[in-house]
Every structure is written in structure tokens, then in C-alpha cells.
């Protein structure tokens, strides 16, 4: 990841076609050691970006899927409460040995103090994705997926990790990352991330690709498909996106459609064929009906 050209080519090798803007963003994030916040409509390859990055740098991918109610015990770390309890039960018998010969209350206390931190040591710490990513010896790619689904507090929790790459655990102290992970956050724009979070990130917005880029992506993913048909089908999807649809088809749907057309041995975009396979592209009955009525003009555009 040492130059923008290298990033473009090595991502392409792993089947991810990135525009210059995306490559620039990855380059900056890697170079400045800042997290990359990727926004855009669903299905434009935000998550894929992080996965491919993990392949490219050959480091493990640690993924944290966000949802409402996600808190630090599930994202960061948790004390193994049951294990702690079990140990105290098992060690109950040892207590007399430890305290053996102690005279008076104060003496026993001082002796106990020597063991006090034993139950809050790393052995009882259950690392969750964020902490695991920090622990990774050779560094890692940390994917925090759909950050907009998480609560506001969780965002604040991330701030320390994202700016200093360290975690503060009150009982142990600060744990810093052994090697700074490459962090990718994705967001679907359902709500705005806080300014504090945005400030710490390189901000990348991935829109739907243009015709040329999408054709390249289809070529990469479905290489067997005929050139003319590819051009046509991508053009069709591009035209669809300009309609007022409930859910616009994403890249992944274009690829699925290309695959199904290939499977059906299609040679050109006939309107019958399109109508029959429209459900691959569109996920709402309303949208399908809407498209059917405009089919002729869309096919002409494509």
C-alpha cells in the first residue's frame, strides 16, 4: 500500500475494481494511519473494500457488526464473570492456607491485598472484536460495519480507539495496539455520525459507479459474459437507477443479474427475458410493476 497505483492494481488482483478516488482514500488512510469512514448506498461494495484490504495486506480481518444496543461488553471486552465466580468457589479451600498463621483482622487483610488483583487480570478478560484487533501481533484489518446502526454512546466509545489505538480498562490500565490496525468503518447513512467521530476519519463516499466502471466490475466478476450483452445490461441497470424506485439496484444485483443471464444463455436483452428476470434486480413488487410499464423506454436508453 505504498502508492495509489499499487493499491489500484493489487486490489484489482483480488477482484475489487476501485476508482481513483477510492484508491486515494485507502492510500491516505494507510499512510496517515487514520480510520477510513466509508459511506454510500447499500451494495456498492463498502464491506467488500475492507475484506479485500485484508487480503491485500495479508492480515486477519476482525469484523464488528453494529446493531442497536451494542455496548462495550460485546464490542470491547468483558470480564469472565462466571469464571471468576468459579475460581473463588474452588479457591475457597485455599483460603485457610493463605491466611494461615495470620493474627488478627488487619494482618489477614494485608495478606489478602497481595492477591486482590488476581481476579481482574488478563486471564479473566474476554476480548471482544475491538480488543482482539489491537492484540493481533502482526496488525489486522478492523471492519466496523454499519456504524450508523449503533447508538450514540457506542460512537463515543470508539473515539479513544480510533484516535489513539488504545483501550482503557479501569482494572488493568491502558492497552495499546501492538501494531496499528487498518480500520474501516462503514455507514449506510441512516443517521449522521457524530462530528467527533467524523473528525477522526478519512471520509469516503462511494456512489453508484458510472457505466464504464460498472462494466469493468461485471467483467471482473462474470468474465464469461458476452461483451455486447454486458454493455447492454449495465446500461439497463444505469437507466433503472435514474427511475424513482423504492430500492435502487446495487452493484451486487447487477452481478447477480449478469450471472442469471449467463445461466439462461441469453444473447441479447429481449423484453420478455428482462421481465422474467427482473426479480433478480428489483426487490419490491411496486418497483417491478413500475419498471415493466417503462420497459420500452428504458431498453431504448440502455
Amino acid at each position: 500500500m505504498d502508492s495509489i497505483e499499487n493499491i489500484t492494481s493489487s486490489f484489482e488482483k483480488h477482484g475489487y475494481i476501485c476508482s481513483e478516488k477510492i484508491a486515494t482514500a485507502i492510500f491516505l488512510a494507510a499512510k496517515l494511519e487514520k480510520p477510513l469512514l466509508v459511506e454510500g448506498p447499500p451494495g456498492v461494495g463498502k464491506t467488500e473494500l475492507a475484506k479485500t484490504a485484508a487480503y491485500v495486506v495479508d492480515k486477519p480481518l476482525v469484523r464488528l457488526q453494529c446493531y442497536e444496543g451494542l455496548d462495550e461488553t460485546k464490542a470491547l471486552y468483558e470480564w469472565k464473570y462466571s469464571k471468576q465466580l468459579l475460581y473463588t468457589q474452588l479457591l475457597k479451600e485455599q483460603l485457610s492456607d493463605v491466611l494461615g498463621g495470620a493474627i488478627g483482622f488487619e494482618d489477614s487483610m494485608t495478606r489478602l491485598h497481595a492477591f486482590s488483583d488476581a481476579f481482574y487480570s488478563r486471564e479473566f478478560l474476554e476480548p471482544r472484536p475491538l480488543l482482539r484487533a489491537m492484540h493481533e501481533k502482526n496488525g489486522s484489518v478492523l471492519l466496523i460495519d454499519e456504524i450508523d446502526k449503533a447508538d450514540f454512546e457506542f460512537e463515543s466509545l470508539l473515539l479513544e480507539i480510533l484516535s489513539d489505538y488504545q483501550v482503557s480498562i479501569p482494572e488493568i490500565g491502558t492497552i495499546a495496539a501492538t501494531k496499528i490496525p487498518f480500520v474501516v468503518l462503514t455507514s449506510n447513512d441512516t443517521r449522521d455520525a457524530s462530528d467527533a467521530l467524523k473528525r477522526r476519519c478519512i471520509h469516503l463516499y462511494i456512489p453508484f459507479p458510472d457505466q464504464a466502471l460498472e462494466e469493468r466490475i461485471v467483467l471482473e466478476k462474470v468474465p464469461q459474459i458476452d461483451n455486447n450483452l454486458r454493455k447492454k445490461l449495465v446500461g439497463f441497470v444505469q437507466a433503472l437507477r435514474s427511475l424513482d424506485l423504492k430500492k435502487t439496484p446495487a452493484i451486487s444485483e447487477t452481478i447477480d443479474w449478469a450471472k442469471s443471464l449467463l445461466l439462461l444463455n441469453a444473447e441479447s436483452l429481449e423484453s420478455d427475458l428482462v421481465v422474467n428476470t427482473l426479480n433478480v434486480l428489483l426487490k419490491f413488487e411496486e418497483d417491478i410493476e413500475n419498471t415493466k410499464s417503462n420497459l420500452v423506454s428504458i431498453l431504448k436508453q440502455a
Binding site: E20, L28, L32, K34, E153, D192, I202, L204
Partner: protein
């Protein structure tokens, strides 16, 4: 580049993009690792560190194109000179310069010789764009062009910059040449005009960057204090933008607090019970979940002619902060009252307000409308409800039906009356405000955007 970037960032700030010093440093770091040869790379890199939303990115790109127009190399280096200079003149001049350098003095006048020695003229003749742009920038800084505020200052600043760049040499030379009827006069004139055009364009651009945003801010500040029904039609969309901005500020502030109070405490009895099989050891913990019933807000709006403008802005505000506001039920009235909540579910806010005005507009009858409200919704009002009434309380001498408002007052958590009229007009003429006030927890003036924001802020605070 440092200084340029800082200048650029201050312009971004004036265009409502918030850039913190930390981000400035990030941008500088990003610049240092990027390739300056590629304009698009620099642009994208800066956009990623400075702009934080899609909208901001759009504004950023616009500003970037304006600001760095002729600054970076490889962008239309000499298109301008080709437009203005006929090729023949150019070749003539080049010939002259060549002969001049050889030392043939018979062809050239002394004035032209001297002039050709000044760095400005040299740059102009050799079409040295980078040098010219640099000296232009330097001159602009000298006369502090960034302080330009009004369009009437454009001429002044253009002249100042020209002077600072040393245009007077050209001017003087032309004067002398005109007297001696010099043959290179036309060529020089073309260069002069070219330079003037360049500077003029530059000042124009700078004005657009600096003053436009500043003027907008100024007018926004004024707009906040203008009485809502005095806002000219032309400014309506501006007011809408302002409301959206205020609303997003408020929803950011209050959106967080709802979540915080949702967390529960440990459920001791249940935890103890679960521990019984393990000899009383509490292996499993259970948490009490606080169930918060959402408070309800009843909005009763007067949509008669005198208050319609206020109602409109108020409703826009309320429905823009839907996601942080508790459940809102809205009612509209003038001669009679009806529930209009469904209008807002089915239509966009603006459209819904139009529909409401169309359906319920007319002469005001507070008494009758309260009667309607009593039949419609008074049973739903409980101690968690907030009732907001927006109206001028001008009842056209009818029966005010104060007892109904009093019942609402007693049943609800709070009754807030928002009156668009200034406080001193309350109770004058046919206004029943003084009487209604006795059955309100809070009565507030709500005539402009600033007051409106305060009202909503207070409302959110009290319903959390």
C-alpha cells in the same frame, strides 16, 4: 502552499463547512503524501479530510474549483491569451523581442525597451502563467483582497492589485508611445488589456468566494430576527434551510439523551432467585429494564389568515425534529377543529401544511374549536401530555370557553401557549390572551425564528 491552504479553509468555513484545526493538520499531512502533479488526487485527498458529508463534499468541490482555478499547473495554461491576442500581433511582437535581444536598436523605441525589461512585462510576453499567478496572489495579499465585502469594492481592489503588480510601467509607456506614435503600441495595449482582464476575473472570483458566503451569513442573522409573517416570499426557502439547520442542531443535542435514560439497573430479586441452584452464588445477573412510556404532544394550531405564516414555520420545525420528538398529534382550526396528523404521514411537510390551510382556513372561533377538541381528544390527555397551542387568541368577540382550556390544564403535564403577537398586544381589542393565560403553564411569544428555536428547545427539554 501552507498559506494557500489556510486561506482555502477559511473560505470553506464561511461556506458552512466546519473545519477544525485538527482537520487542517490532517489536510496538510494528506497533502504531503499526495502527488502534486495530479489535481484530482489533491482534490479528492482534501475532500476526504475536510468534507464530512455528501452535501459538504459538493460545496467543497465548488469552492475548490473556484479557489484553485489558475493556481495549479496544467490547467488551461494559455487558453486566455489565445483568445485575446491575434496571432499576427503575437508573432510581430516575438519578432521584435528577438531583434531586441540581438541588439538592433533602430527598430525599437527606448520606451519599449525599458518596458520589456520589467519582470511583469517579461512574464506577460513569455506567457509565464505560474509566475503571473504568483505575483497576482502576492499583490492580492498586499492589498488584503480577502477583506472584500461589497461588490462596489471590486473596481477599487482591481486597481490596487494592478498598481501593486507594477502595471503603471505599462500605463506610462503607453502614454509616451501614444505621443510618439510607436508601432508596437497596439501589442502593448493588448497585453495591458489581458492583464486587466486577468486581475478583474481574479477579483471577481475572490469576491464570489469571500463575500457571497459572508453576505449569506449576514442575511441569515437578520432573518432569524424578522417576524415570520414579514418574511418575503423570496426568502422563504432560506428560512426553511435555517429551520432545518436549527432542527438538526436540536435533534443532535436531544437525540443522545433519550438513549441514556433507557439503561436499567440490576434486578436483585431475580438475580438472587437464579442463584439458588448454585448455592446462592450469583452466576447469572439480570437487569431491570426501564420501560419509558413516550410522552405525547398535542399541537393545536390556528390556521386563520393572521397566524397562518407562523403556524407553517412552527409545523415545519416540529415535523423536522420528528425523530427526537415524542409522538406528535396535530390539530388545526379556525372556525372548526380537526385532527390533521394523518396529513403529515401521507404527505411531505410542506404539502401537508398546504392541505391543512386549505381545509381549515377561515375566520377564527376559539370557543367552538375548543369544543371540537374536547369531543375529539380530551380523553387522551394524561399527565404525560404536553399541549401546545399556537394562536393569537383573537376570538372575534365570541365565547372563549375558558373552562375547556382549564380542564386541559388540569389533566395535562403542561399547556404551552405560543402567541405570535408581541406581549404588549396581548389582551388588547378582541384578544382573549390574558384570560387564556390563566389556564396555561407557560405562555410565550413566538414571532421569529429565534424565539421559535427557543420554544422548541424548551419543549424538548421538558419532554425528555
Amino acid at each position: 502552499m501552507h498559506k494557500n491552504l489556510v486561506n482555502f479553509i477559511s473560505i470553506l468555513r464561511s461556506h458552512d463547512i466546519r473545519v477544525s484545526p485538527a482537520e487542517t493538520i490532517d489536510a496538510l499531512n494528506a497533502m504531503s503524501v499526495l502527488n502534486f502533479e495530479k489535481r484530482s488526487q489533491i482534490r479528492d485527498g482534501l475532500a476526504m479530510t475536510l468534507a464530512k458529508t455528501k452535501l459538504e463534499e459538493k460545496i467543497f468541490l465548488k469552492c475548490f474549483d473556484r479557489f484553485f482555478k489558475s493556481e495549479l499547473p496544467n490547467i488551461n495554461p494559455d487558453s486566455l491569451s489565445k483568445d485575446t491576442i491575434s496571432t499576427q500581433d503575437l508573432s510581430n511582437l516575438i519578432e521584435k523581442i528577438n531583434s531586441n535581444e540581438i541588439g538592433n536598436e533602430t527598430l525599437m523605441s527606448q520606451t519599449f525597451n525599458d518596458l520589456a525589461q520589467t519582470s511583469l512585462m517579461k512574464n506577460l510576453m513569455r506567457n509565464n502563467r505560474t509566475e503571473l499567478a504568483l505575483s497576482l496572489r502576492r499583490a492580492a495579499e498586499e492589498v488584503s483582497l480577502s477583506k472584500i465585502k461589497l461588490f462596489t469594492q471590486k473596481g477599487l481592489y482591481t486597481r490596487k492589485i494592478l498598481d501593486s503588480m507594477g502595471e503603471e510601467h505599462i500605463r506610462n509607456a503607453i502614454e509616451i508611445m501614444e505621443k510618439s506614435n510607436d508601432q508596437s503600441l497596439n501589442g502593448i495595449k493588448i497585453y495591458r488589456d489581458m492583464l486587466r482582464k486577468e486581475v478583474k476575473d481574479f477579483v471577481e472570483r475572490e469576491y464570489m468566494l469571500q463575500a457571497e458566503a459572508r453576505n449569506k451569513q449576514l442575511s441569515d442573522n437578520i432573518l432569524v430576527d424578522v417576524r415570520l409573517n414579514n418574511i418575503e416570499h423570496y426568502y422563504l426557502h432560506r428560512a426553511n434551510d435555517l429551520i432545518t439547520k436549527m432542527a438538526s442542531k436540536l435533534s443532535k443535542r436531544y437525540g443522545k439523551q433519550i438513549k441514556r435514560s433507557k439503561k436499567g439497573r440490576i434486578h436483585m430479586p431475580r438475580t438472587l432467585r437464579e442463584g439458588v441452584p448454585h448455592q446462592g452464588i450469583l452466576f447469572k445477573t439480570h437487569w431491570k429494564k426501564k420501560i419509558r412510556k413516550k410522552p405525547q404532544i398535542f399541537v393545536i394550531c390556528d390556521v386563520s389568515g393572521s397566524v397562518a405564516a407562523y403556524t407553517k414555520f412552527f409545523l415545519i420545525f416540529l415535523y423536522t425534529i420528528q425523530d427526537v420528538l415524542p409522538k406528535v398529534r396535530s390539530f388545526a382550526f379556525s372556525s372548526h377543529l380537526g385532527e390533521v396528523s394523518s396529513f403529515f404521514v401521507e404527505n411531505s411537510v410542506e404539502r401537508a401544511i398546504e392541505l391543512v390551510n386549505w381545509q381549515y382556513g377561515g375566520a377564527t372561533d376559539y370557543g367552538g374549536s375548543f369544543e371540537d377538541f374536547k369531543n375529539l381528544a380530551i380523553a387522551d390527555i394524561d399527565r404525560r401530555s404536553t399541549v401546545l397551542i399556537l394562536g393569537d387568541a383573537r376570538n372575534n368577540q365570541g365565547d372563549p370557553k375558558l373552562e375547556i382550556l382549564r380542564t386541559i390544564f388540569e389533566r395535562s403535564k403542561q399547556v404551552i401557549w405560543l402567541n405570535p403577537e408581541p406581549r404588549r398586544a396581548w389582551g388588547t381589542g378582541d384578544s382573549e390572551m390574558k384570560r387564556y393565560q390563566t389556564a396555561c403553564h407557560i405562555s410565550m411569544e413566538c414571532g421569529n425564528l429565534r424565539q421559535l428555536e427557543r420554544v422548541v428547545d424548551r419543549l424538548l427539554k421538558s419532554t425528555q
